[in-house]
Amino acid sequence: MILSDREVRAALQRRLIWVSSCPPVADKRWSSTTLDLTLDAEIRPWKELGGSGASVVIDPSSIQFNSNDLIRNQTTPQSCAGEGYILEPKSFVLAWTAEKIKLPNLSRIGARVEGKSSLARIGVGIHVTAPTIHPGFGEKPNDPAFERSQIRLEIWNAGPLRICLKKGMSICQIIFEEVHGIPEGAYAGQFAVQASASP
């Protein structure tokens, strides 16, 4: 079940979920069931692997596959603060939300980040089929002081237009959903349940 804006605010007040820099009720970033999140300054555009025309194959099933190493080697951080960053047609960049989120496992609330219609109309998507934020995201168990986590976005431009991305713009929307039941391992005191380690 998707939470309404009122339920989301109730959950925020009761600290069942955390969103840093959450806007007030009257802010245009709220809708009946969603809250807009904004773009942080750092953008990481991908280089063309191996140069133009080269065919480099990435094997994500490899035991040694380390996406952060690949991203660090094949992207260069840029900023979209100030004048903004131009997202060229058919290009793909990594970025982050400015807001940090925490969804404690025992709150039984998960979430999805989705694109905004206004950006979709001009060809901009904000994730590549991985919108789910699982319960437990941004939570450090037994450390309520932990500061929460930003959401990494995979932004692509499917259209023919050059799009300016700017720090602080509404870039995506988050939808909170109730989880039916408490996820495995979240019950206090049941951490020693026996199970087989056989594959």
Binding site: L3, E7, A10, A11, R14, L16, E42, R44, P60, S61, I63, Q64, F65, N66, S67, N68, D69, I71, R72, T75, P77, L94, W96, P104, N105, L106, S107, R108, I109, H134, G136, F137, G138, E139, K140, P141, N142, D143, P144, F146, E147, S149, Q150, R152, E178, E184, G185, A186, Y187, A188, G189, F191, A192, V193, Q194, A195, S196, A197, S198, P199
Partner: protein, 96 residues
């Protein structure tokens, strides 16, 4: 919750690290995490994870990772010797 031993390397941003965890099967799991999820004790790095099951017969534990690993795994078996500081979770309320 529990802490699982890990190797830490640079992340994409100052607030982020890349973590490598050794699984029971001898595989390495790589995942990007917030540095706040890490704990340093006795000069060793540990990642906060959720403990799901233990198999004392095999000296193994199934833990839930804070984010999906590069292999696609959300849960992995690790050796019990890789874990420390196993504690009960604090209770939260529920919204509904």
């Amino acid at each position: 919750m529990a802490l699982v031993r890990c190797e830490v390397s640079e992340g994409l941003r100052e607030s982020e690290a890349t973590v490598k965890i050794a699984t029971l099967e001898g595989r390495s799991e790589y995942l990007p995490v917030d540095r706040g999820m890490l704990v340093v004790e006795d000069k060793a790095d540990f990642l906060a994870v959720r403990l799901l099951y233990t198999d004392n017969g095999k000296n193994a534990a199934l833990v839930s990772l804070p984010v999906e690993a590069d292999s696609g795994a959300h849960r992995v078996w690790v050796r019990l010797s890789e874990l420390k500081d196993v504690r009960k979770e604090q209770e939260h309320g529920a919204l509904i």
